[in-house]
Symmetry: C2
Subunit: 296 residues, 2 copies
Amino acid sequence: MRLTLIAAAALAAHAYAGELPPRPSVADVVKASKADDWRPLDPRNTLYLELPAGRVVIELAPAFAPATIANIRVLAHEQYYDGLAIIRSQDNFVVQWGDPDEEHPRSFKSAKEKIPAEFTMPIKADPHFVKMPERDGYAPQVGHSDGFPSARDPKSGRTWLAHCYGMVGVARGEDPDSGNGAQLYVVTGQAPRQLDRNITVVGRVVSGMPLLSTLPRSAAPAGFYDKPEQRTPIKTLRLAADVPEAERSKFEVMRTESASYAKVVDAVRHRGGPWTKYSPDYVDLCNAPIPVREAK
Amino acid sequence: MRLTLIAAAALAAHAYAGELPPRPSVADVVKASKADDWRPLDPRNTLYLELPAGRVVIELAPAFAPATIANIRVLAHEQYYDGLAIIRSQDNFVVQWGDPDEEHPRSFKSAKEKIPAEFTMPIKADPHFVKMPERDGYAPQVGHSDGFPSARDPKSGRTWLAHCYGMVGVARGEDPDSGNGAQLYVVTGQAPRQLDRNITVVGRVVSGMPLLSTLPRSAAPAGFYDKPEQRTPIKTLRLAADVPEAERSKFEVMRTESASYAKVVDAVRHRGGPWTKYSPDYVDLCNAPIPVREAK
């Protein structure tokens, strides 16, 4: 007898008083989607983080961090990250990579040491926003921008990417301009939305999250590994455009402006029976999945 | 140069135009707390899940699931779980344990096969609720109940535990009464609050989350391991009261009714500088930490 959270048809003998009518699941919506509901990743906006256990694929969002992403492209092109390591894994928060050698850190070639903070952008920089009707605690408006969870404040006229699971940000010191892309982090726990508008967010992991989410946690302060052997080495970190085409991963992201994506969000907002007994009729921004699939 | 998300004093040379005044951190509040802000775990309400890599400590919340927890105590006492396995690890969702042998499942001794659903309880069952002022998308009210994140609906007069990171629930089939405690799951990803009011929640992991959160993810449907060697064996799962006192873990949980706990929540709601540039002045229920410490 296998009890799942999702379904266990063998146990459905007893009807529940308040049974909800069935509704399409996310899988149903994805299955019914059309080819033009999807877009391929752009090699100029795709990073491959190659770890000993495999490849993590990151989609960059240049509309939200153009200067920082330009710098990251230079760093990747000049092989700055190769041979560095994952230096931090804090449970229910983030993993982070960078140069573990604090005494003799690797120097930059053409990349800039200082990049102006890109914590928020003018709303006009993002014409792709599709607003969710949900009220959000951290922002006046939330929704999706061309494949990324985002938020905005019409009063200030600013928009920003939201710290959901799998989002990639730029570690910085106290100076807001100190994040140059040399150290990047990925959210591996409950969405730390308090970081929104405090840090430059550059993209999202679209494949390979388990390679990061299963890394050993460090109990040292802020989850930095305190022993060199705890670190995971970075083989390479490359822009897909710098990788021969035959070696590129072929992924497609569901267009968040499509009618199919609206149905995806509806599928997690309004849940049907028989397993679900109570539909939340609400979905948190960070609980709305953004489908990714391998291109045929 | 170590850039952290938290602080990097060496880089503080440049003041930021909108610098926030410093405020106490959670660590500061914990440090300033008094002995009676804490309560020890009750051995009758504490489970030890012993894995090859170490002990996971779970605090049970009998106010929210009295019949189910009574059954789990019987199962643990009669050593039902010993030698079973973690059978599921779905990225950004849950791990789950139970009997991997579907053809010849282990039978119960005195434990009950069917337990009435305890998805919600009458509000009067929980006199310890401290309401947060925050508006929540999934429930009319949220807050904390004697060490657990909880939610309630004054109109229906019902309360329930919330699916935050580390919460422990009872897997079930489609029949709402089919969750008997034989299979338990722990939230290891973004809070799946859509499960609230749909499943019986029995407690929270207070120590050892990394032993669960780092388990290999399965790409098979719903994250069930499809190869036996992927499973992690359960050495034993015992009620602390059934374990000799010398072998018990000594943990204390901050009383969520204490003034110190109100300060903890304030510390994550209103964030001070110098690292933070924008204070959210809001905190999601599942982003409010519930401090645990080893007793002296």
